[in-house]
Symmetry: C2
Subunit: 218 residues, 2 copies
């Protein structure tokens, strides 16, 4: 089956590293969904404001494309435990399809402004569907290992002067992202300095005892 | 982007007509997810029993494949009101990708037995992902027009002898399906006799004043 992008995402993540590991973690991070010419029609969005949340089906463009591996090692399990790929939301899966739930903040002409996306800038999107809480909100569903980490966050310490290097509207999303622990898997080296690109800046931090210290923004 | 089926569904719906319009409507209807040879590996399912619900990404094989139509007419709005395709879960959409939430009943070797699927028999499946209630259950999300019909059901009258023509385990699912109103859109002709294929039988019914009368099973 051949599918083609209907839209792409525009946001502050130009690199894979630092992107939240699930949608709805960085709730203050705004992204724009920009439609490709063929699908750029206000009529295709008629009534979409009646929904607060949307599903995106998209492509993990940075996923490994080698042959099928039936198991993966989720970062939230420490990176050493193997789990079946269909029991995870790992990017390394057949067809490399991603599924994310985002909040629809507003519609600007034919652009959808959403929050909470975990997609890298320019990621192709193949479908957008409304979230149907009456059918799809199942609070008592059993959530496996992933659900133990829903409320997992790091404390953050930072010098306000550092944070002020960023434009005002970029600050809250960065704090959300840092709190979600953007380290690659559970690396526990308190001396190590990690960095990622965000909104055109390089953000440096380290983590010790569940406290993340912001080191630099440049 | 080229995607290939990882599995297909096996159930009692050989025709499009009669299939529930959303997943989770016909909760007693069981389906089997059977993996294609290349992906048929018990390891790929390791840990999946820890989740009660799964997402399926699949292909609307019977959807129209002509050029992009930005609006559709949802049956639940009477079939005359046009809504933007991205504000609906309509099959007639770019890429013809379906998204359904199903309940995982049990794992039989490498076959997943699920309930509540709204997929026709032999529909190809492109991805299976666990449902993460901690992130994806949002009971206070705004659900648009579709959510007004979550609890919509018809009353059913039938002769028990008729129902007994079906094998025992096929009866409760049929009643679920009938209650969900399998008429094509809101046709309101009380004299009209509708029919659909289910489990190798032809089911005939009519509807008057929100009461569905089972006419024949043969």
């Amino acid at each position: 089956m051949i599918i083609k992008p209907i839209a792409h995402i525009e946001n502050d993540f130009t690199k894979k590293f630092g992107i939240p590991r699930q949608s709805r973690i960085a709730k203050s991070l705004l992204s724009k969904i920009v439609f490709e010419d063929e699908f750029n029609d206000r009529n295709a969005l008629r009534g979409i404001e009646e929904y607060s949340h949307l599903w995106l089906i998209w492509e993990f463009t940075e996923a490994q494309k080698d042959k099928f591996s039936p198991t993966v090692r989720p970062p939230r399990l420490g990176g050493n435990t193997r789990v079946g790929v269909f029991a995870t939301r790992s990017p390394n899966r057949p067809n490399n399809l991603g599924l994310s739930l985002v909040k629809l903040e507003r519609v600007e002409n034919t652009v959808l402004v959403v929050s909470g996306a975990d997609l890298m800038n320019s990621t192709p999107i193949y479908d957008i569907k409304p979230y149907l809480p009456g059918f799809e909100a199942i609070p008592d569903a059993k959530g496996g290992f992933a659900d133990n980490y829903t409320d997992y966050t790091l404390k953050i310490t930072f010098d306000q002067k550092l944070l002020c290097k960023l434009p005002k509207e970029k600050r809250a999303p960065l704090l959300d992202i840092l709190a979600s622990d953007p380290r690659p898997s559970y690396q526990n080296d308190p001396e190590r300095i990690y960095g990622f690109e965000y909104a055109g800046f390089e953000v440096k931090f380290k983590v010790e005892d569940n406290i993340l210290t912001l080191i630099d923004i440049m």
